[in-house]
């Protein structure tokens, strides 16, 4: 019994997140029974990746912060002020906390015609495609599951998202939700192939799809190696998040509110954050494929955390770029979006594959 525990702890100790700065403190803490064990468990790289970063905790933190950043940024660009009244000293940062409290205490209405079990399940289930891909994205050297097919798996998971949204639109069983759902499906057709093909171009370029290997290979970041792929991937991600220039399923101003019109309360809150989750994951993927993942000038004392910080910073940058689009472009019509998806972006992504092939052959 104790043998197995001992073996497990040794296993975990062999693969700890190394932080030279904190080593003295950590060493003391490890000595304390139970707390030490717990610490070892948390700092075990795979678990750290899943639970802390880039996994659950980071996601949660970002979800709290991202809408605020979005509102504030867009307001600035548009000469407004943005959230202000809640904690005015800090520019209303906790606005979303207030919002989520409201969502939490609002009544969840399940209308009579809804397909009840599915109606309740889908918002919760949609966290699966949000959390799973995070297991395969490395923050520097920290990764939950190492796999030679990491990049493909993440893409596959991301393209699962619309399925859940279609699901909840269907479960709402209301014509307004249906309209939004169908539009969601259309947009999905528009970006999916371009997204996959441009990522494919990068995989061809690197010759591997192991995330750790990919980030290790980018002495020169991918965006310089293949800018065409980067552009195609960026536009496709913007469409994939179905946010403002491509906010076609929701289209508040014209439609009733997309696939989730019938949702209220905390279930609506869950759905509300889906698009931010997508932004996070796609930005992570973009960072991995084009911006060299966690690579950057290494800060010795922070050890593994240095790569993590670089990764988060780059991801944040990509996220802000994706979010700021909202302030720059008005919404495209459905047909325009499809045309953009199939015409320029798809062309760009195929060209990107050609560019990759050429580079591979030449270098």
């Amino acid at each position: 019994m104790t043998g197995t525990v001992e073996a497990l702890i040794n296993l975990m100790m062999a693969d700890q997140v190394a932080i030279p700065l904190l080593d003295p403190i950590l060493n003391i803490l490890y000595g304390i029974p139970l707390l030490g064990h717990l610490l070892a468990l948390i700092l075990w790289k795979p678990l750290f990746a899943a639970l802390i970063c880039p996994g659950f905790a980071t996601l949660g933190g970002l979800l709290m912060l991202l809408p605020w950043i979005e509102r504030k940024l867009v307001a600035r660009i548009q000469w407004r002020i943005g959230p202000h009244e809640i904690l005015p000293q800090m520019g209303g940062v906790i606005q979303l906390l207030a919002d989520s409290l409201r969502f939490l205490f609002q009544e969840v209405i399940v209308h009579r015609d809804a397909k009840q079990p599915y109606f309740l399940q889908f918002p919760v289930l949609s966290f699966i495609p949000a959390l799973l891909p995070l297991l395969f994205i490395p923050a520097g050297t920290i990764i939950a599951i190492e796999s030679p097919y990491g990049a493909q798996i993440v893409l596959a998971m991301v393209t699962l998202f619309p399925l859940f949204i279609l699901g909840l639109g269907w479960a709402s069983n209301s014509r307004f939700a249906y309209i939004g759902t169908v539009r969601e499906a259309f947009v999905y057709f528009g970006y999916e192939i371009a997204l996959i093909v441009s990522a494919f171009a990068m995989i061809v370029l690197y010759g591997t799809s192991d995330p750790l290997a990919i980030s290790g290979m980018q002495q020169v970041p991918g965006i310089i190696l293949n800018p065409v792929a980067a552009l195609a991937f960026f536009i496709a991600s913007a469409m994939a998040t179905s946010r403002l220039p491509f906010e076609i399923p929701e289209a508040d101003q014209e439609l009733a509110g997309g696939p989730h019109v019938e949702y209220s309360g905390i279930l609506f809150g869950l759905i509300y954050v889906i698009s931010y989750e997508k932004v996070y994951i796609l930005s992570g993927l973009m960072t991995l494929l084009f911006l060299g993942g966690g690579s950057g000038p290494e800060i010795r004392v922070l050890g593994d955390l240095s790569g993590l910080i670089w990764f988060i910073l780059k991801t944040l940058l990509v996220m802000i770029a994706l979010i700021a689009l909202r302030a720059i472009y008005p919404r495209y019509r459905l047909d325009q979006a499809l045309r953009i998806g199939w015409n320029p972006v798809f062309t760009l992504s195929t060209i990107a594959v050609g560019v990759s092939l050429m580079e591979v052959l030449l270098l």
């Binding site: 940024l73 600035r76 660009i77 548009q78 000469w79 407004r80 002020i81 700021a324 302030a327 720059i328």
Partner: protein, 242 residues
């Protein structure tokens, strides 16, 4: 029919435009302009002709009903006062602040203010009685500065100036086409002399003579209030340009 066609840009022009848009966004994100006025801490400076709440001067009112008559929202009702005359009351729940009443008042008894933010406890209280209209409505002011919007070239800018904006304005009554009452169809006049009775300034006079009634309008003194025109049962009186 003219069809609107999308401009035919080349790829290069498209790219240029996108870059321009992104550049503008980045510029604004870094050094943003702002056009938001943080009312109530500051207050927008309104022009003197702003159409806000009204004040009323009963000494000038001639009870001509002109305001009540013209009010497109039916917000003005005339109420009989203790002196037997009729004065306007305004239901601000209905009022659309068009200031037609003010423009139509022949005697300048209604005056504008720049006050636009009055709170009421319930709908009934929005019916403002004559007595309450003599003084400007009471409001709580938190503003320490006022804001002006200035347009220079293409852009709109916000200018903040310290100090309180004076909300009571002293405008001369609106100028209007001068009109006087006159009779358009003397033969149809019944000679009832109601016009003489309603005229506030004693402009219409009648004298009973041997074979009938002689009616005279003193055009010099007629203010064109239209009271007689409204009361004339045969509608033979009309306001004409002086």
């Amino acid at each position: 029919m003219r069809k609107v066609v999308a401009p035919d840009y080349t790829v290069f022009e498209h790219v240029k435009r996108h870059v321009e848009a992104v550049k503008t966004a980045i510029r604004e994100a870094i050094i943003p302009e702002s056009v938001t006025c943080s009312y109530p801490k500051e207050r927008r400076k309104m022009p003197a002709s702003f159409r806000g709440y009204l004040i009323f001067d009963p000494d000038r009112c001639i009870s001509c009903f002109g305001c009540a008559f013209i009010c497109p929202a039916n917000a003005i009702r005339m109420k009989e006062a203790e002196d037997g005359r009729y004065y306007p009351t305004i239901d601000y729940g209905k009022c659309i602040f068009c200031h037609f009443c003010l423009d139509s008042c022949p005697e300048g008894a209604l005056k504008p203010t720049k006050i636009h933010d009055v709170a009421y406890r319930d709908l009934d209280r929005m019916l403002t009685l004559t007595e309450e209209m003599i003084e400007p409505p009471e409001i709580i002011r938190e503003d320490k500065r006022y804001v002006e919007y200035v347009i220079d070239g293409r852009d709109l800018h916000l200018r903040r100036v310290d100090g309180e904006d004076e909300l009571l304005v002293d405008l001369p009554p609106p100028s209007k086409v001068e009109r006087i009452a006159s009779c358009i169809d003397p033969e149809s006049c019944t000679g009832c002399r109601i016009c003489e009775e309603v005229c506030e300034h004693g402009v219409i006079r009648s004298s009973v003579e041997e074979d009938g009634v002689r009616m005279v309008i003193d055009s010099e003194r007629c203010t064109g209030c239209g009271l007689c025109v409204k009361e004339c049962s045969m509608r033979v009186l009309r306001l004409v340009r002086r």
